[in-house]
């Protein structure tokens, strides 16, 4: 008996085709070696939305019956390889049917591998990734997050580069030769084969020791039973009038603890409090009521509520006041206003450096500007 399971954690819609290409290719490749497999999404269509963390799986087994054993559960209890195609999800995800924050390596088995596409280094990623009691390996594929849409696919070779890396870190799954055959069988060109082979050659991994990583306890929710949950499909709102820090102290609405979705965020707003004209637009337009009004009438994004949609940046009439920054740059949800209050100069310095870096990174919400694709390809080209 030998079953190999692989999960691909991706951003809904933006990376759906990418994830699908990966898991399907794994099964095609395994078939070349006479194995049986299945590729499936943990989501139906309905809950998969733009940018929401989602999963697809590939399970490969020696015979159909063994495969069936592994299909009798919705989500694998453990996987040999976790593939994370957007490094911002290293902070944890709220996966389907998982209430609370699931560490990105939650399913990665002892001695298994976590492959992340990123331009950060291992130390920076491990700072975000929750610590595990068992050792595993981390393998980084230098790459930008390959976002596209439901009806378009950005064929930047991220799919085949991951397949090449996979053959390297998990030789018991399939050989590189089978992977190459599977790539060719799908009508993909030789350039994609070469990308897979190069990726195979260059992939290395770094062991992550038990206890190494983000020490925070991931948040979770209790699921009520039918006798304890409210009748009528009701979720109780926050108490009216409660929780406001009134008058001179500014306003901070109480937020419903049931709605906590910051793990969906791939970017976050950073506010230039010096240029803010207090127009209220970000506060009004934010779909998650995430702006606190500070005592001096400025607007401070509460990052436990912000899902990173970017509406504030879009509606802000000041050119450099609200800027969306790659979520990977941050390690906490601390108040920017308090940081600014404490030391305005270093806040400004920090903010400016992030904005400068963002211009180079050019991470977007999935919708690219004209020419952006060519720029990115050039930047990540391996030779």
């Amino acid at each position: 008996m030998s079953t190999v399971a692989v999960e691909v954690v991706y951003r809904g819609i933006f990376q759906k085709t990418l994830a699908r290409n990966i898991v399907r290719s794994i099964v095609f490749a395994a078939r070349k070696e006479g194995k049986y497999g299945t590729a499936f999404g943990r989501y139906g269509d309905s809950p998969e939305r733009n940018g929401i963390p989602a999963k697809q799986f590939a399970i490969v087994a020696d015979d159909p019956e063994e495969l069936e054993e592994n299909l009798a559960v919705y989500e694998a209890q453990e996987v040999d390889v976790t593939i994370n195609v957007d490094d911002t999800m290293c902070k944890g995800i709220e996966s389907w049917a998982w209430y609370g924050l699931q560490p990105i390596n939650a399913l990665t088995k002892t001695g298994g591998t976590l492959i992340v596409t990123s331009r950060q280094d291992a130390d920076a990623l491990i700072e975000d990734i929750h610590q595990k009691d068992q050792p595993y390996n981390l393998s980084i594929l230098t790459s930008i997050p390959s976002f596209s849409g439901l009806w378009v696919y950005k064929d930047d070779h991220t799919d085949v580069r991951i397949l090449g890396a996979l053959a390297k870190v998990c030789p018991q799954l399939v050989s590189l030769e089978s992977m190459v055959e599977a790539i060719q069988d799908q009508g993909w060109d030789d350039l994609k084969v070469r990308s897979a082979e190069r990726s195979y050659d260059r992939t290395t991994s770094r062991p992550v020791e038990p206890g190494e990583g983000n020490q925070e306890e991931p948040f979770s929710f209790d699921l009520p039973g039918w006798t304890t949950m409210e009748e009528g499909i009701i979720i109780r709102g926050i108490e009216q009038g409660g929780g406001f820090r009134g008058g001179e102290e500014g306003y901070q609405p109480v937020r419903n603890s049931v709605f906590k979705k910051y793990s969906t965020r791939s970017m976050r707003p950073i506010v230039n409090f010096d240029t803010c004209i207090k127009c209220t637009l970000c506060w009004l337009q934010c779909p998650d009521t995430c702006f606190d009004v500070t005592p001096d009438g400025l607007y401070d994004a509460n990052l436990e509520s912000c899902c990173g949609c970017g509406v504030c940046e879009a509606v802000c009439p000041v050119a450099d006041c609200v800027t969306m920054i790659n979520e990977a740059e941050f390690n906490d949800n601390d108040s920017q206003y308090e940081m600014w209050q404490k030391d305005k100069d270093s806040y400004t310095q920090w903010m400016t450096s992030l904005i400068e870096k963002q211009k180079q990174v050019d991470r977007t919400h999935g919708f690219h500007h004209v020419g952006g694709y060519a720029e990115e390809i050039a930047e990540v080209a391996e030779d």
């Binding site: 209430y99 039918w226 949950m229 009748e231 009528g232 499909i233 979720i235 709102g237 009216q240």
Partner: protein, 408 residues
């Protein structure tokens, strides 16, 4: 000076009215807050009477003529969630067009009361009665009552709000009315006084479930597999509490208004002497069946009739008790369920399932009759009894489902 409304319902009196008018009067007496409408017969006759009462100053309500049945049922669903007493109705394909809203109303535990004027599903265009339109909600958490007379339409409408709006239930209820005979022919109906109704029917209090700025709640968020089963389990619990609520309300109704059957669930006719054959059916079928039974009794045949009033909740124990003494039960379906067990009708299969746990089970024979409004004649009922008698004589049901009055 008294208002028109007060004058209208000050004294108890007899009126010659149709089932539709009876329902409209019940709406006025119950002081319904929101009524929605979209013309389709026979609901259009309710619309006429409601607008007439409103125009005459006899009834104050928000009467909203929607642009479709779908909107009609959406509007009452939402109105009910903010605490308004609601009524609406449709029939046949109109009821089906509203189905998206109808299906979720029960899940949201909203006590909407609706009239469905049983009508054949088009195409082919047919205005006559068939029960399949109303039956479509049978699995969704709607209480479903089959009305047989205009008086019953008025009485049960008053009870419907009381039952549906009971916090133990908070489930919608459909009054299923024969969409031609009952809704269009006029009968003498005893119209109660406003005072009596006020005594019987308190206002609708949604309590902590009411959608209101002072009670901020989210109703019907997206839930996934981890929540849905608990939600369904809750609805099941609510539905299983309804028989108790119905009994209570029915008893109180009898006390206040001085009329009603022994049971809210069944009307038993000539069953006291444990007849060999019991016919069973719903709604206005009762009329020709009762006449046929009287004729057959004159000839010495021991035959009785049980009219099932509530299809949901299905009164399993009462049905078992009423039918277990018979040698054979003839279930008359004014509906069909193509491809169902024994290719029988909906009621037949439900009754047969209810009888299955009994140690001594009567034969159950099914008759499909009166589809599309075709007349169920006295001699048709006699034919059913003859066929059922054969099962008793031979100890075997030759053919479980029999179509009656259909041309070969």
């Amino acid at each position: 000076m008294t208002t028109v409304e007060e004058q209208l319902f000050m004294t108890e009196k007899e009126e010659l009215i149709s089932g539709s008018e009876a329902v409209a009067i019940a709406c006025a007496l119950a002081d319904v807050d929101v009524i929605t409408a979209y013309p389709i017969r026979p609901y259009d006759t309710v619309m006429q009477y409601v607008s007439q009462l409103k125009a005459n100053g006899a009834f104050d309500c928000d009467f909203i003529v929607a642009e479709s049945e779908h909107s009609q049922f959406e509007i009452v669903k939402h109105a009910s969630s903010v605490g308004a007493r609601t009524f609406c109705g449709s029939s046949g394909v109109g009821w089906f067009y509203a189905f998206e809203a109808i299906a979720v109303t029960a899940g949201l535990r909203l006590p909407v009361v609706a009239m469905v004027g049983n009508r054949a599903l088009d195409d082919p265009g047919a205005f006559g009665v068939e029960h399949n339109d109303a039956l479509a909600v049978r699995d969704l958490g709607w209480m479903l009552y089959w009305v047989a007379t205009a008086q019953e339409a008025l009485d049960m409408a008053l009870m419907a709000w009381r039952i549906a709006e009971d916090p133990r239930a908070f489930l919608p209820m459909a009054l299923s009315c024969d969409g031609s005979f009952l809704t269009h022919s006029q009968a003498i109906v005893n119209v109660p006084t406003q005072e009596q109704v006020n005594k019987f029917l308190p206002g609708y209090q949604r309590g902590q479930m009411q959608l209101h700025p002072d009670n901020p709640i989210t109703v019907a968020p997206q839930v996934n597999e981890d929540w849905l089963m608990e939600i369904r389990r809750q609805s099941n619990e609510a539905m299983s509490r309804t028989p108790g609520v119905i009994k209570e309300v029915y008893e109180e109704f009898k006390q206040v208004f001085g009329r009603g059957d022994p049971s809210p669930f069944l009307e038993e006719y000539m069953t006291d002497d444990d007849p060999d054959i019991i016919l069973m059916g719903m709604g206005t079928l009762a009329l020709p069946v009762r006449v046929a039974i009287r004729r057959m009794r004159e000839q010495g045949k021991k035959v009785g009739f049980v009219r099932l009033k509530f299809f949901r909740p299905f009164a399993t124990e009462e049905v078992q008790e009423a039918l277990s003494g018979a040698k054979a039960v003839a279930v008359i379906d004014r509906d069909y369920s193509f491809g169902s067990p024994s290719s029988g009708g909906v009621l037949f299969n439900e009754v047969r399932a209810a009888l299955y746990p009994l140690e001594k089970r009567p034969h159950v024979v099914n008759f499909i009759a009166g589809l599309g409004g075709r007349e169920v004649r006295v001699r048709d009922v006699e034919e059913m009894v003859e066929t059922t008698q054969k099962a008793i004589d031979t100890g075997k049901v030759e053919q479980e489902c029999n179509w009656i009055g259909v041309r070969e």
